[in-house]
Structures are given as C-alpha cells and as structure tokens.
C-alpha cells in the first residue's frame, strides 16, 4: 500500500510531465511547419512578383525596341527621302521669298532627322550592345549634358565583365536617374563611377544638385506619383539589387549595388 501510493504519484507526475512535453513539442512543431509553409508561400509570391516585374520590364524594352526601329527605319527613311527631294529643288529658279522658305524647310527637316535619330538611339542603344555598359553610360552622360554648363565625369571600373541581360536594365536605371537629376535637381556637375567589389557591382552617381533622400525615394516610388522611380525600383528588384540615396548639402549620392554572379570573361582584365 505504502509503495503503491508513491508509485502512483510518481507515475502521475511522469504522465503529466509527458503530456506537457508533448504539448510543448506539438506547439513547436506546428509553429515550425506553419513558418515553413509561410516561407514557401512568401518565396512563391516573391518569385511571381519578380516574374511580373520581369515581364513588364521586358515588354517595355521590346516596345522601346520596336518604336526605335520604326522611327529609325520608317520615319527616318521617309525624312531622309524628303530631305533628298527638298535638296533636289533647283535653288536658282526660286525667288528670294521661296529661297528663304526652302532654306527654313531644309533646316527643319535636318533637325527632325537628327531628333528622330537621337530618340531612336536613346530608345535602343547600339553602343550598349556593341561596346558594353561602361561605354554606353559614358556616351549617354556626355550626350545628355552636351551644350549645357554641367560638368560631367565618369570613372567606370574596367573589370566589370558585362552581362547583356543585366546591362540593359542597369543602363535604363541610370538613364532614368540622369533624366530625373537633370529635370528636377538642377546640378552643376555629375559624376558616374563604378566599382567591382567581390561579387557585387557598385554604381555611384554623384551630383551637386537638389537630389532625393532615401525617405523621399521610398515615398515617391511607393506613392501614386513617381512612375520613373517606380520603374527604377522594379528594375532594381529584377536585378536583386539595392539602391541607396544620400543627400548632403552640395553632394547627393545614389548608390546602386547589383549582385554580379557571372564568371569573368576570359579576356577580362582581372
């Protein structure tokens, strides 16, 4: 009887302890499984979002390509033909008034051809395809600031191996950012530099205008306005990169970090 009671008490304690441990274990396993499920769902959602962004960016790129080709091959050809016809008119048979009109028309036509070519090149950069990102960025910066008082400078890392898929996206990001800087910040100088650090490409845009802070970028890119900034954010997401805005008096910085996991080209300088 004596031993029986103690035995029963100890058994009851062990049963209670076992039950409690089972409860704890069940709770932990349930939460763990739920978290795993949630992580899988999040991952799937993120992948889906990335695919959507990628599709949007790609379709936008294709559309740019198509417009550029149409402008260059069709509108450009018509304008060139019109120029040939216009220049074919014998000037000696024109009176002074018509000569003036002819000169004016020819001038406007040449200007139109130049503009169409410029727009077409902007939409579809041949330099990027033929000479790579560094050359395309240098060319774009100098071309954009041509005829203005803005001082430009580029210091791009030659070790960047290049990746056609990423380069076009990066090029568009910088293009959009430079357009924004010129439009809103009113800078006196712009500097673009890049640096390959380990497996990352760091692209830095410095200017002395009235740029954006990180908070302002977040606010605009997630807000209803700021379509350009939204595009930048989408493209950065697509590249699995990050962008950081720093605003200090007289020096604004935009730091873009892109993971560069592709191997270096065999003829690369590294």
């Amino acid at each position: 009887m004596t031993n029986n009671l103690a035995y029963h008490v100890i058994t009851a304690i062990m049963v209670m302890l076992g039950l409690m441990l089972t409860v704890l274990l069940t709770v932990l396993i349930t939460i763990r499984k739920r978290n795993q499920h949630r992580r899988t769902l999040d991952k799937l959602r993120q992948e889906q979002q990335e695919q959507l962004v990628e599709a949007a960016v790609r379709s936008e790129e294709n559309e740019r390509h198509r417009i550029a080709e149409t402008l260059h091959d069709e509108v450009g050809a018509i304008l060139s033909s019109a120029k040939l016809h216009l220049l074919g008119i014998r000037k000696d048979k024109l009176d002074e008034k018509d000569l003036g009109l002819h000169e004016k028309g020819a001038g406007l036509l040449i200007e139109a051809i130049r503009k169409v070519r410029g727009i077409s090149h902007n939409l579809h950069s041949n330099i990027l395809r033929e000479f790579g990102l560094n050359e395309a960025l240098s060319h774009f910066l100098s071309k954009t600031c041509e005829g203005t008082a803005i001082r430009t400078e580029t210091a791009l890392d030659e070790n960047y191996p290049g990746d056609p898929e990423k380069d076009i996206t990066l090029y568009r990001i910088v293009q959009e950012m430079l357009n924004n800087i010129l439009k809103y910040a009113g800078p006196g100088r712009i500097r673009i530099s890049s640096n390959m650090t380990g497996q990352h490409l760091e692209l830095l845009i410095n200017h002395n205008g009235n740029g954006l802070s990180q908070e302002e970028f977040e606010q605009y890119s997630f807000g209803k306005k700021g379509l350009g900034l939204k595009n930048i954010r989408n493209r950065i997401t697509l590249l699995k990169g990050a962008v950081f805005f720093t605003k200090e008096p007289g020096d604004c910085r935009i730091r873009i970090i892109i993971p560069q996991v592709l191997p270096l080209r065999p003829n690369g300088k590294d």
Binding site: T2, L5, I13, L24, T30, I31
Partner: protein
Amino acid sequence: MNQLLKEIQRWLEVWPYLLPVIILLATPNGIRKSGILGWFIAGGFLLSFLSTFTWRYGALLPEQLRNNNILYNLNSILRTLICGYFIARLSFLASYRHLYWSGWLFTGFLLINFIFFDSVFLLSTRLHAAESIVLLTACLTFFLHLVADDEVRLRQLAAPFIFCAGLAIFESVSFFVYLFFYPNLTTDYKLSKLVFNISRYSYAFFIIMTGISLIVQFRMEKSKKTASAL
C-alpha cells in the same frame, strides 16, 4: 565534495535565482524593463531564501519563526498572482477574459480556503493544487493561441514562450506532488522526500528558464533598438 553537492541540493530553490537576479542587475535599466517579472524574481528569491534558511538553520531562530510553511504558501500565492497576471497581460491574449476571471476566482478561493479549511501555518495542498490549475490553464491558453493564430511568429514571442514552458513543466510536476503531499508523508517519508525533490528540481528548472527568458527579452529589445537607430 559530497557535502558540498548535498549543500547545493539543499539550496536548490535559492541558487537558480542567481541567474535572473544577475541578469536584472547587469542589464542597464533591467529591473524597470523586466516589469512585473522583476517583482516575481525579487519576491520569489526572498521567500525561497527565507524558507530554505529556516529549514536549514531553524534551530538558531526563535520558536515562532521556525515554521517555513507560511513562506511556501506565500510563495505559491505570489507565483500564481504574478505569473498569471504576466500571462494575462500579454497583449495578444487580451481577448481571453477567463485569464482575468481565474485571478479573481483564485483570490476568492484563498479567502475561503484560509478562513474555513487550511491554516496558513501548514503547507496548503489545496492552495498548491489551485495554483497549478490556474497557471496550467494560463499556460495552455498561451500555447493554444500560438497554434491557433496564423500570424504568430515564435521569434517575437520567444521570451514569454520560454517562461511559459518552464512554468508549465513546473506546475504539471508539482500538481500531484502537492496534492498527495500529506498522504505520501504519512505513509512513506523517504519516498515522499524523493517526490518532493522532483518538485524542487522542476522549480529550479523553471527559475532558470525565467532567467533565459529575460536574456532573450533584453536581447530582442536591444536588437529592436539597434534596428530602429539604423
């Protein structure tokens, strides 16, 4: 060596408190940040120390101070009210009103029990059993909520989870220990001592878990602070 180990075992209900006490004192503003748990640790430490001291050195004390049963009863009341309040005050458990009612029911039970049934100078098995029921209900409510709520992230609730896990294990062990304390004591002293020791070990485990929960809580607060500063 053997004597030292025996002495350590005798003070089993006291030295585990050193972990939470050191954490509270070593952390800047630790006592303030710990909230009501700080009171539980301070009160529990004092009562456990006094009860063990009375047991060990009772012969040196005046006759009326040799009884440590009242200290055990007081510790049980302190544990029930503070731990129950701590769990009931967890923001996501606010909708479980029975946690508040159980506190009032326990207070009512205390009055009835000590006025009509038990003496405060004797170890009240009813009190300890009631304590186990109240606190096990609170802990199980907490665990069930963790399972039921899809939005719960264990990482955010790691500190209360560790505390409740320690408490639930201690209470599930001590429920039968105290319920059959007197029948055991009268039938087989040696075995009753062994059973009581099981409860003491689980109590030490609970206090250590409380210390760990404080470490986790302070670390999380620190990392939150660092993240918000960045």
